[in-house]
């Protein structure tokens, strides 16, 4: 009797599957992974590519052994990759252009664990601290150490419908405070279609707009963290500001409307004149120009009305910086590249011409492009107007708890509005006793959340 044939315990089909699995696994393991020579630079903002590419092509031609590869990654993908790289040592670029929230998350943990190279000493040693608009460093600084070279300043102005305001004979030069703004422009709030509801409001703001609440809070001198990065909700400035904001969006003296930025509906409301004015950082002036064509020649920029006479006439919104990751094999070369890119007058001019973003490098503020009149903004020199405010932008605090803090602050504002609606009292003064109570509650709640973090307590702010 012959012995059973080998391999017959599997059918030919099953053997085919096993064979394919083995071959494909071997092919996968043996396949060479293509690698790019040189260092990688990750960035997320599509418009920046054109500014950087020209500079980098020249750099690569001049430094064939030190090439830089420009890699555009979607914002959220970049954020995920950074988190993965810093927590699990997955591959990361040598240079990363990062945004404020992304950077504040990178600040979680001990200083020595931050995934970016500490640039503080270099910035001072090389005189960059003096050359660059100083408040622009604040967002990239934690516990006294700076980890990013700022890309911008992002001061805020007020963009308004000059055609409608001037037709009503209103002189905006008379507006110094938000109260002036409401009083002088108030008559323009109108019911245009006779349905008994106003169809025109003065300002694009709503109590659920986190960014704008932060902008206005900073302008008033408030914030959710103090300079030592401790929770600081319960302050007189915060209470006064939130109480005022409620009176902006509710009650008989309401003058704001929710005309969301970056939405078709919001743009339609701006074009139709449902809203007369919006707080505009420099980058958003560029967005207006590209998205709101029908408003060309009908809008102008002015300084933000202050919270009180003599108060700050600007604020700040957004921010981007470049950082050198600790994974970079040669941080010195990466740092040299970062400076070459960010301090370049060519990039500054190109960036301004396409986006209105002004450079944080003070020497560049003399570039003629910033003083050119712009037909979209009725012939105003847009760059010069923003540069005039740049040195005054408020300093900001970067904290890994920023998202949670803002969520809680927004809850206070919403609750304060509900309180006002329930009692039918809308003026800021009558809301003032309630605001500190709610702020104190929110502060205690967040402080308890932070206090349970034994690692945060182990690395206190100086």
């Amino acid at each position: 009797m012959s012995s059973p044939r080998p391999f017959t315990f599997l059918s030919p089909g099953a053997w085919l599957i096993v064979g394919l699995a083995v071959v494909s696994s071997l092919a996968y393991l043996a396949w060479p992974v293509p690698s790019r020579p040189g260092r990688d630079f990750w960035f997320f903002s599509p418009p920046n590519e054109q500014h950087y590419r020209a500079i980098l092509e020249k750099w690569n031609a001049a430094h064939p052994h030190d090439r830089v590869n420009l890699v555009q990654i979607h914002y959220q993908a970049l954020e995920r990759r950074l988190v993965a790289a810093f927590t699990s040592d997955t591959p990361v670029a040598d240079l990363v252009e990062t945004e404020s929230l992304m950077m504040s998350r990178a600040f979680a943990g001990r200083l020595e664990d931050v995934g970016f190279v500490d640039l503080t000493d270099r910035l001072h040693r090389e005189g960059l601290w003096e050359k660059i608009n100083e408040p622009s460093f604040s967002l990239w600084t934690t516990r006294g150490r700076t980890f990013g070279l700022p890309h911008d300043v992002h001061p805020c102005l007020l963009g308004y419908r000059a055609d409608l305001v001037e037709a009503a004979g209103i002189d905006v030069a008379q507006i110094e405070t938000w109260d002036d703004f409401r009083r002088l422009l108030g008559p323009l709030i109108r019911d245009l279609d006779g349905d008994g509801r106003p169809d025109r409001y003065l300002l694009n703001f709503w109590e659920n707009n986190r960014d704008l609440v932060k902008v206005l809070l900073l302008q008033a001198g408030g914030d959710v963290f103090d300079a030592q990065e401790r929770v600081s909700f319960d302050t007189a400035i915060n209470a006064r500001t939130l109480a005022s904001l409620v009176s902006w969006v509710a009650g008989p003296r309401r003058f704001c409307v929710d005309a969301r930025d970056f939405t078709a509906g919001g743009d339609q409301m701006r074009i139709e004149g449902t809203v007369l004015a919006s707080i505009l950082p420099d980058w958003q002036a560029g967005t207006w120009k590209s998205n709101l064509g029908p408003l060309s020649g009908k809008v102008k920029l002015m300084r933000l009305p202050a919270w009180e006479r003599g108060g700050l006439r600007t604020s700040v919104w957004g921010g981007t910086a470049i950082g050198v990751t600790k994974a970079a094999p040669d941080p010195e070369k990466s740092w040299a590249m970062a400076k070459h890119l960010y301090l370049s007058p060519q990039v500054a001019e190109s960036l301004y011409r396409s986006t209105y973003i002004i450079s944080p490098v003070k020497a560049h503020w003399q570039l003629p492009c910033y003083r050119e009149p712009d037909p979209f903004f009725s012939g105003q020199p847009v760059g010069a107007l923003y540069i005039a405010e740049a040195p005054h932008v408020p300093r900001r605090i970067a904290s890994p708890y920023m998202t949670l803090a803002m969520e809680r602050l927004m809850s206070v504002l919403v609750a304060l509005k509900a309180h006002a609606l329930a009692r039918n009292t809308f003026d800021a003064a009558s809301l003032l006793p309630e605001a500190p109570r709610r702020l104190a509650e929110a502060q205690a709640d967040l402080a308890a959340h932070i206090a349970r973090n034994v690692l945060y307590a182990a690395a206190p702010a100086p």
């Binding site: 315990f9 699995a21 986190r210 339609q268 708890y401 949670l404 919403v414 034994v454």
Partner: protein, 307 residues
């Protein structure tokens, strides 16, 4: 030698030997087992460990015992998230499923023509990604310019065009979007169950004078109960995992005053926005326990009803 299989009686001492080597089943299941071990069991064990740790930043970890769970039980945001999620779940079960059943009953009616095309139309939304639905409904619910407010204001001039769907009525907005998305999907289950209802029983009941409601209550509903129980369980589990829809609908946030905060959203916020993976793991485990509890409760309830 013949290749035909010898009769069992003539196989001799090797007759009882299995046709495959003993390791063959393991070899066949190995790909799944390896992946399950690597990507499910091991991370599960890791997350259990993490739930007893404090993490902050890339390299900082400390063992904190039950601290995460203790804090969780007193965390007002967690309870708000749980309340919101439970409210959504109740809405999903008591609004979405009756709508799905209603659609299925309509399409199961012999008088309805073009049932296949209606079935496709009602089912089609569930083929669309959640993110797309979130973006689309965020536009629909816009104040003034949104389709819903603009349409209602045009029909009823007294309707406030600034009706704040996504500010003050987050849960009804979420439910509306989810009904649009899932009602057709659940309808398919109900339709399949309805088509298996015994026609003879229905005809007999009709002959005995039972009206439509009586026939539905006493014949259709008991017949489709196993499927309905399955759909309810799926809806409860899916509702407790709610994240993408409100996250996108509310512009990457939990909405004003955290009105749209769900348990999974809170898990995401603490784990990935704050970097406290330990606390996020504790939330995940508590959510898992809640879901297991819900499933067991439902199974017992079903068993009791069957008995």
């Amino acid at each position: 030698m013949s290749r035909s299989t010898p009769p069992l009686a003539s196989r001799g001492p090797r007759a009882s030997a299995p046709p495959f080597p003993r390791w063959a089943p393991w070899a066949f299941t190995a790909p799944f087992l390896i992946l399950f071990l690597l990507f499910t069991l091991w991370p599960l064990a890791q997350s259990l460990l993490l739930s007893f740790q404090q993490t902050f930043g890339p390299k900082s970890t400390a063992f904190v015992g039950w601290s995460n769970f203790r804090f969780l039980l007193h965390d007002p945001l967690f309870w708000q998230a749980l309340r919101n999620t439970a409210l959504y779940t109740v809405g999903a079960v008591f609004v979405q499923l009756p709508v799905a059943l209603g659609l299925a009953l309509l399409l199961n009616h012999p008088a309805v023509r073009g049932r296949a095309i209606f079935r496709l139309i009602f089912f089609a939304p569930s083929l669309v990604g959640l993110v797309f639905v979130g973006i689309m409904f965020a536009q629909i619910f816009q104040k003034r310019t949104g389709l819903l407010n603009a349409g209602l204001h045009a029909l009823l001039p007294s309707w406030d065009p600034e009706f704040a769907w996504l500010d003050e009525h987050v849960m009804p907005s979420l439910l509306l979007a989810s009904v649009w998305l899932y009602a057709g999907f659940n309808m398919i289950y109900f339709l399949a169950a309805l088509q298996n209802v015994n026609r003879e029983l229905l005809d007999a009941a009709q002959l005995d004078g039972a009206g439509p409601w009586a026939r539905f209550r006493h014949i259709v509903l008991p017949e489709i109960r196993p499927v309905a129980a399955f759909v309810v369980l799926l809806s409860v589990i899916g509702s407790f995992q709610l994240f993408e829809l409100p996250w996108v609908l509310l512009d990457n946030s939990a909405g004003p005053a955290n009105r749209g905060l769900t348990v999974v959203m809170y898990l995401y916020q603490t784990g990935f926005l704050v970097g406290d993976l330990g606390y996020a793991s504790a939330i995940g485990w508590l959510l898992g326990l809640l879901l297991v509890g819900a499933a067991i409760a439902q199974m017992r309830l079903n068993r009791r009803e069957e008995n």
